[in-house]
């Protein structure tokens, strides 16, 4: 079985992002970029499944600017066998990414697609679900445990009320939650070997997908600065404020 793992290049989680002066977006010039942590977990899970013998090949795929190659090399250093970059300078929104991935799935015919549940830049949490819908496949989102047996995957999901275990027929979509695994450090020799692994480059047009954004960003603003607090005289004043000012009770 082949596993496809989409990975996203995002601003590194250590970076404190700043809004551009013209409020058109977040300033990512000269900011450290890394693989989305949830995607790292997805790669790790796919590699573990291959190491256990449940899969034979792990293919990483990313969509975006040319520099996404670095992210794909990183995925191959962790253990992906080869990679595909869908190169475009256009701003990609979840639906466009899902369509691009569907085109890749049609071509590659994987038995399983493992994605991060969301990316830490836009926190959209949509691509996996949209891809499942476009493919008409089953989906298990927010996975904290994955077992693959033949044509079935048993997935434990993190849901609001606790844990839910479901079984789904393959091919299917799985999206990873934080506790699924702890990604390994890429070994230094594997970093070097990753350089020699196959990395294909395709353009959205070659896949027949129109990636034109459907949403327009009007304005991006920093969250409002925290206001200083006030000291209340007594409990009655506190309750009054909670009721009438904050309107939370």
């Amino acid at each position: 079985m082949k596993i496809l793992v989409p990975v996203k290049r995002v601003v590194d989680y250590n970076v404190k992002v700043r809004v551009k002066p013209d409020n058109s977006g977040v300033d990512i010039a000269n900011v450290k970029m890394s693989m989305n942590p949830f995607c790292e977990i997805a790669i790790e899970e796919a590699v573990r499944l291959r190491e256990k013998g449940a899969a034979t090949e792990v293919v990483a795929v990313s969509a975006g600017v040319l520099q996404c190659q670095e992210t794909l090399r990183n995925a191959m250093a962790i253990g992906a066998d080869r990679a595909i970059l869908i190169e475009t300078d256009v701003e990609l929104q979840p639906l466009a990414v899902a369509k691009l991935l569907k085109a890749i799935v049609d071509k590659e015919q994987p038995g399983l697609v493992i994605l991060g549940k969301q990316a830490i830049d836009d926190d959209a949490n949509q691509t996996g679900q949209m891809l499942a819908a476009l493919l008409g496949w089953g989906q298990a989102t927010f996975a904290s445990k994955v077992e693959v047996n033949g044509n079935t995957a048993t997935v434990t999901r993190e849901v609001d009320g606790g844990l839910e275990t479901i079984s789904l027929k393959l091919p299917a979509i799985i999206t990873t939650d934080l506790r699924l695994n702890e990604p390994r450090y890429a070994t230094l020799p594997n970093i070097m070997k990753a350089k020699k692994k196959q990395l294909d480059n395709v353009k959205p047009a070659e896949l027949g997908v129109d990636v034109t954004p459907r949403l327009t960003t009007l304005k991006v603003e920093e969250p409002p600065k925290r206001q200083g607090g006030v000291k209340v005289a007594d409990v009655a004043a506190l309750i009054d404020k909670l009721k009438n000012e904050a309107k939370v009770i």
């Binding site: 000269n30 090399r73 250093a77 450090y185 970093i191 070097m192």
Partner: protein
Amino acid sequence: MSTYQAPLKEMHLLLETVAPLAELCELAHFADATPDTVAAILEESAKFASEVLDPLNWPGDQEGAQHNAADNSVTTPKGFKSAYLGYRDMGGTGLPMPADMGGMGMPRSVVSLTDEMLHSSNMGFGLMPMLTQGAIEAILLAGSDTLKATYAQKMVEGIWTGTMNLTEPQAGSDLSLVKTRAEPQPDGTYKVFGTKIYITYGEHDWAENIVHLVLARLPDAPPGVKGISLLVVPKFLVNNDGSLGARNDVKCISIEHKLGIHASPTAVMQYGDAGGATGYIVGEPNRGLEYMFIMMNLARFGVGLQGVGIGERAYQHAVVYARERVQSRDVGAPREPSVPIIRHPDVRRMLMRMRAQTEAARALAMATAFALDLSEAHPDAAERARNHAFYELMVPIHKGWSTEMSQEVAYLGIQVHGGMGFVEETGAAQYYRDARITTIYEGTTAIQANDLVGRKMAREGGVTAKALIVSMREFAAELAKSQHPHLKATHARLIAGIDAVERTVEFNLGNFNSNVRACFAGSVPMVKLFGIVCGGWQLARVALEAEKRITAGHADAAFYEAKLATMRFFADTMIPEAIAAADTIVNGAEGTLAMAESAF
């Protein structure tokens, strides 16, 4: 407590200026060291240092390594073994080693940076890879194919570790006094008898075997340094199939109680109490010290990196505290509320001294590493020789100055913390204690200084030192074209610094035969002078590139502006200290040696 962050941007800038990786990976020898591969290696090494090694640094210091008298074993602090296994599995041990030994063959310009990260995040841990690298190099340099296959291979993979056994109680800096004996056996092996002290990681619980490299005398050896041989003495003997055999007659009888590097066991090793430890000779008899000295340059270079590493860590730690600690009003705005102490001019002075010296020492280290790489890999023999001479000249300067400046940096790190720095819990004191050994081991600063004025300068008639002065003047001419105020100021200072270097080289060459005691009396100040001026030279190369990038409209202008500001500080504050040192070198011997020995 702060968290170590490897200065990756700075490191990349050095790989684009003083140690241009783009040039190295053009050479067949380093074809794999492409900028993108190296970026990924640095990234992963930085992650490991921040996430695994740095959190163990303070607990490792507090717990320390423990010797168990019952079985002469050593227990390292909690978490260190698994950190080592992680480091090994990551492939850390093979990074600089040749590809045919299963290593990655990365240039020293890259390995210097990953080694610095080890020492920054956890010097007590970093010593093990450093010493094992040395042991591997020794075997690769002169060992037989059997020794290479049996021992070096396992050490490259990190399965076994290595040690360097030089010092004995009566033989410290003076290795001609080594007494350990090696008696030849009919089967070609040797029986080794003696006591070795200060053996870093001589015993530990990380690996199943330890490969000791031991300096010893054969029965018929001539006296002094020409009668010392190098032997491999494994903790466990190795069977022909590579499996471990009987325990060898070598044991760790105690470990030292030290000022710093508590996590690193410093062993007293006893050889041959029960009939003799089996050893295998490396290379030819009586040439041990010669082999050791070829390697010694690399070991000294490594200790210089510890100076840079500990300086970086102490600086990062102090900056975090200086930003958080609110105390007193700004002298320039006495009516405003109290401010973080980083606002105070003297705290700024301390942080700048820490930062500027660390950056200059790192730049000098990288220029030295780059020369070593070219001396091995350049296709042109003349270029190889030229770079080798530069490397040889720079090693005592880099080792001597980087470790000495790290004392001041770690000292200032405590000073920035005030009383809280004297309290162990803040962690600033550990850097001060750990740094202290670096000016001592692998040759004290005086030994480096002797090497500089004698072997590396007077003995060759100052050829390399004079070539260095020419190179610095050539660069200064280029720097003179810049109109940037910080670089104009730097140019003036640098010229004065180069003049001072020239004056002392002439003094040394002119007096070495007639008044050698005067030359040696000023040798340590000479290390400082060369360190600061050469460090300033390399820093200025970086600053010049920074100015170009700002002019070209680089988006990360703030980073490059900081380079120029750091350069300005270094030029105005550090270079004058170097020039003052020149006076001491030329005129200080009278006073240093005037007093009668009996008057002390």
